[in-house]
Subunit: 284 residues, 2 copies
């Protein structure tokens, strides 16, 4: 990985929470990534072995810091011996296109490859997450080639769509409060129109509710959704994914959590269950 | 509590993480406070009972957000049925004296009552933590009158000194990376000179290493200290407390944690052990 720089290095639950900055050729800018190495990644650890990797995709406005500082996921990753990789949510910096709103441009990459200007040059988060980032992570002898993916909100959309589009690549997938049908909700309509153009046919390739209809792999989807989420009815609408999964028999476990909102307090409350779910698949 | 306003309300580990703003008469300004109510605080909970309260005092530059968003303490408070109360670290706002540095003025109240100008009017965090805040918290039927106190860095200093100065008031005390001897280190010398004046005799009343020498209650002190803490040798110096405790036979459990730094990644890694320690004392 060219121009790799370690920005942070903190002991945490017996392992290390690091933050790296590196040059992304795919995105044409520098990117920051949080990497948690569990104790088992240390060659001196009595149960040392190459560790499976859980990729975490954050939501709108986030960077690599939100998940690593607020989710409390390191405890569970340490218990299960899983590496956590949490990248920034979009290309950034001078020369990278941006927009006024929080829901388009920097901080809002939507985990796709943009085809329209001014976005097409840098906004290639799909290729970054699927190829460039894991190629770097998995070149480290600490990492095995067993992969899982999860995320929150826009990142839940990213996790679901990327897993559905890449059969065999991820052992498991889960999401918190995902945008399950971006083609049918305001956040997705705005972003997809900008990044992909007005032709809604092109949107289907990045819409989980569309992708399950033709999925060739029956990878179970685990989704947690807060019942008190302020974005539930307009932006998230998990029942659309539920109906699509039922129509084609795609396995979905959708858990509504009464009272929980869209914040990291929700994620923190249930990330342990998600990591246990991924651990079962990653070590099977 | 006059002018009480709830700013935040999040479901979290089966309970509620709230943030309140209220008018403090002692401090002469508005204050923000994080309050975590565990599931057992709900009258509908099968194991409902008035819950003991752990007061958490944060460090330099912090407000009520740092602990509630980064420590991951709610999981353990929910397990043990403990209310967590995390106030801001100083008076704030227009009309409240301040200084250029991060280590004096707003964000740096040092949990004492200032006697010198321009600080004496508002900087009365000792009275706020010992009297005004618990009077409000414990008026709620969700809270029992069993109290514990803990904190980090400047807040570890606050927890140790407040517990030592108030025998019988707290069932247990602990600290992460505390400033154990502020009279002998740069952070403390600067703050105490400003808030209390140049006479070092007045400083002893707010210095844990001095207070243990004359403590009438043998309340055990639990201290965790990261061995990789960037402030260890100049600002924290836990061996000064250790020597003072040994000299008078005051019980101290000082745990050095190799590799850990001064950040919330350290606190998150061991806050579960601290809350278990407090739970044993609070429920004895």
């Amino acid at each position: 990985m060219p121009n790799l720089e370690r920005l942070e290095h903190h002991a945490c639950f017996g392992g290390w929470q690091d933050v790296y900055r590196h040059r992304s050729e795919v995105l044409g800018c520098e990117m920051t990534v949080g990497v948690y190495l569990p104790p088992q990644a240390d060659p001196a650890h009595p149960r040392h072995a190459p560790c499976p990797v859980l990729y975490w995709l954050s939501g709108l406005t986030c960077n690599e810091q939100n998940f690593i500082t607020k989710a409390g996921a390191q405890r569970y990753a340490a218990e299960h011996g899983i590496i956590l990789v949490a990248p920034d949510t979009s290309p950034r910096g001078e020369g990278v296109a941006d927009a006024e709103g929080y829901d388009l441009g920097q901080g809002a990459g939507f985990y796709l490859n943009a085809t329209r200007e001014p976005w097409a040059r840098h906004y290639r988060m799909y290729d970054y997450i699927v190829d460039e980032l894991p190629a770097w992570v998995e070149a480290d002898p600490a990492a095995s080639d067993a992969r899982a993916i999860s995320g929150h909100s826009m990142g839940g959309h990213g996790a679901l769509t990327i897993a559905l589009k890449n059969p065999g690549r991820y052992r498991s997938v889960s999401a918190f409060s995902p945008i399950v049908a971006p083609s049918q909700v305001p956040w997705g309509e705005k972003a997809f129109a900008a990044y992909l153009g007005e032709d809604c046919e092109a949107w289907k390739a990045h819409d989980a509710t569309e992708l399950v209809r033709s999925a060739t792999e029956r990878l179970p989807l685990l989704v947690d959704q807060g019942g008190g989420d302020e974005f539930l009815d307009v932006q998230l609408r998990p029942q659309l994914l539920q109906a699509a999964c039922e129509a084609v028999g795609h396995p979905l476990r959708l858990r509504m959590r009464p009272g929980y909102d869209h914040s990291y307090y929700f994620i923190a409350s249930f990330i342990g269950e998600h990591i246990a779910h991924h651990a079962r698949a990653l070590k099977a």
